[in-house]
C-alpha cells in the first residue's frame, strides 16, 4: 500500500517535472517564433505540443500535492533558475512592446522584476 503511494508520488513528480520542462519549452518556442516566424512551426505542430503541455498541467494541478518543507531555504540553483526565467519573461515583454520605443526597456525591466518577486513570494 505504502509502495503504491510512493510510486504514485514518484510518477506525479515526474509528470510535474515534465510539465515544467514542456512549459519552459513552450515559452522558448513562442519567443523564437516572435523573433523569427516559422522557425519552430515549420518542424513542429505547436497545437499538439500545447495539448501535451495542457494535459500534463491539468494532471499536475489536480493530483500533485507538494510535500511540506517548512523553513527550507532556496538554494543558489533555485535563485538562478528564477532569475533566468524572469529575464526571459522580461525580454519577451520588451520584444512585444518594442513599438512604444524606449519605454519598452522599462516595461521589460519592470516585468522581469515583477515576475522574479511573484515566483519568490510563491516559493516562500
Amino acid at each position: 500500500m505504502n509502495l503504491d503511494k510512493n510510486l504514485k508520488n514518484l510518477i506525479l513528480l515526474i509528470i510535474r517535472d515534465l510539465f515544467l520542462a514542456a512549459f519552459v519549452l513552450l515559452i522558448v518556442f513562442t519567443f523564437l517564433e516572435i523573433v523569427k516566424p516559422k522557425i519552430i512551426l515549420n518542424y513542429l505542430n505547436l497545437d499538439i505540443f500545447l495539448l501535451v503541455v495542457l494535459i500534463l498541467g491539468i494532471i499536475t494541478i489536480l493530483y500533485y500535492e507538494p510535500a511540506e518543507k517548512a523553513g527550507q531555504k532556496l538554494k543558489f540553483l533555485d535563485y538562478s533558475t528564477i532569475c533566468l526565467f524572469s529575464i526571459l519573461v522580461g525580454i519577451l515583454c520588451l520584444y512585444l512592446t518594442r513599438a512604444i520605443g524606449l519605454l519598452s526597456i522599462l516595461v521589460g525591466i519592470v516585468s522581469a522584476v515583477i515576475c522574479f518577486n511573484l515566483i519568490l513570494n510563491s516559493e516562500s
Partner: protein, 201 residues
Amino acid sequence: MENNFLKILRAIIIFGACLIILFFLSQDFAWTGRLEFKTDFKSFTPFVSILKPQDLVEIKDLAYVKQAPVWVDVYLPRDFDKINLEFTYRNDFNYDIEVGPKLYEENNPLKPLENKDSQVNSALQNTQNGYKIKSIEFDLTAIPIRMGKLRFLISIPDLKDESKGIFIKELKVDLQRKAIWQENLRENIFNYFNYFKNEFR
C-alpha cells in the same frame, strides 16, 4: 535513493529540453548543408505553397494543370547555394515543359524540364508506373530572394486545351549549402543572421 533518482531524471529532462531546442535550431540553420521536403500540392506545406493561380489547377487525386503558366512558392529558411526540384508527373501529350524562377513579368530564365526533341531516352530511364521523374537544378547565389520566398514558374507553352493538361504527382525540393564542417561556425551563423536581417526585416 529516490532523491538521487529524481535528480538524475531532472538532469535528463533539462538535457532533453536543451537538445530539443538545439534540434529545431539545427533544422532551420541546415547545419548538415541540406534541407529536403516534398509536396503533392494538395495543401500548403511549411516550405512549399500550392500551385497558383488556383483557377488554372484542379486538385483531383493529383494536381491537374489545365492551363499554364502556373507557379509555386518555395520558402527558404536561410541562404542556400543550390536548389534541386524533382518533379513526378504525367505528361500524356508530350508537351515541352519549362521551369525557372519567376523574377520578372516576362522573359524569365527558364530551363527545360522536358523537351520533345531530346526527351525520349531520359524519360524512359526516369519513368515509374507511367510517371516521369525529372529534376532540375538552379544556382541560388545569383537569384534574388524576396521575403524568404522564391517563386518558380512552370511554363507549358503548347498547352491550349484544358482537357489535355498534365498531372503533377509530387515535387521534391532539395536545398543545398555548405555543411557546418565545411564552413566556419562563425561564418555560418553570420550568414544565417545576415539572411534573416535582409529577408525578413
